[in-house]
């Protein structure tokens, strides 16, 4: 039991700093930020906790609670994707996870999700978003609207791959 736990932990621990770097790198900070996981009690992991720390690009170490709303969202996404790499489910469903992100972080996140879902062995992503600079990078859109007369929801599907990809 302890060994299995350490196995899962070590796998995710390796992936978290790479995932966080990928999500935070940009023209201003080519190397991105740093994130890591530490075990309080290595031998008996169930008795201790798991500490998660994220340092946005060019910032020093601080408690997670001192980070801003957007910085916490990016850190949480990195953790989720790193955990997912250990036990990959065939698809993801994310509901407005970009709500606290500014324009540049929305772009970074959209490119990241796109890179994780397309290509061989990718994980299918289904993402609800209100921001056009997020969903214009998807392969297809499911447009939901309220039908006033029928007092219910209706859906239309659009295949975006027919149009040239936006830069």
């Amino acid at each position: 039991r302890g060994a299995r736990f350490r196995g899962a932990f070590e796998h995710v621990e390796k992936r978290i700093s790479e995932t966080y770097r990928e999500l935070t790198k940009g023209s201003a900070h080519p190397t991105g930020g740093q994130a890591f996981l530490t075990l309080e009690n290595y031998d008996e992991p169930f008795l201790g906790g798991v500490n998660f720390t994220a340092m946005p690009p060019s910032k020093r170490y601080r408690e997670m609670e001192m980070l801003s709303g957007g910085e916490k969202t990016i850190a949480a996404l990195a953790l989720l994707f790193a955990i997912h790499s250990y036990r990959a489910s065939p698809f993801f469903v994310l509901d407005e996870v970009d709500a606290a992100l500014d324009k540049s972080n929305v772009e970074k996140m959209a490119r990241f999700v796109r890179s994780k879902s397309l290509g061989k062995g990718g994980t299918q992503s289904i993402v609800i978003s209100l921001k056009d600079n997020f969903y214009d990078k998807a392969e297809s859109l499911v447009g939901v609207s309220r039908d006033q007369r029928e007092a219910c929801s209706k859906v239309l599907t659009f295949d975006l791959t027919q149009f040239a990809e936006t830069a």
Binding site: R4, N51, A54, M64, R87, D95, E96, A99, I126, A151
Partner: protein, 197 residues
Amino acid sequence: GHLSRIELENFKSYKGKQIIGPFKKFTSIIGPNGSGKSNLMDAISFVLGVQSAQLRGSTLRDLVYAYDVQDSKEKRNASVSLVYVLNTNDEEEEEEEEDESEGRDGDKENSKKKKRQKRGEEEGEKNEVRFSRTISNSGASDYKIDNKTVTFEEYAEKLKQFGILVKARNFLVFQGDIEAVAQKSPKDLTQLFEQLS
């Protein structure tokens, strides 16, 4: 494999029968506030076995389409089906498990082909699996795989075969939950890792 389409019947704000899809590798769900986007995610979560409390309903009956409070006495049935398409190599994985006991490689290859043909004929070139969950007018919930009623354990077992672990739920992030993930206490994170391993 991947999620190909969702079929709804009287689920939350989706009245009557509606088929939603196809879902591609990267699909975004868009629309104005209150249109029914999160209800679609609730439908996907519901068919995977998530409890109604997590789907903003106190009872299963709350998840059935109702025009207003009066209307909910109509006692409509509701159901959601998730059609999951296997990759060709998924098939391999499924069959791998069955073939372990067979003879040498040559035989194995032939027998795999035959098996696939037989299977193909049986299910009409079927490389999809249909997971369904219903709500009856008495409020009971039923699970079906390819239209055959099964127990929840069998259902969860089949989902697990495709890597869908509903217990860990690390692949569903509900509206407003994302920031809470980063602020999980060390104890919570230990629990998450425990479920994972």
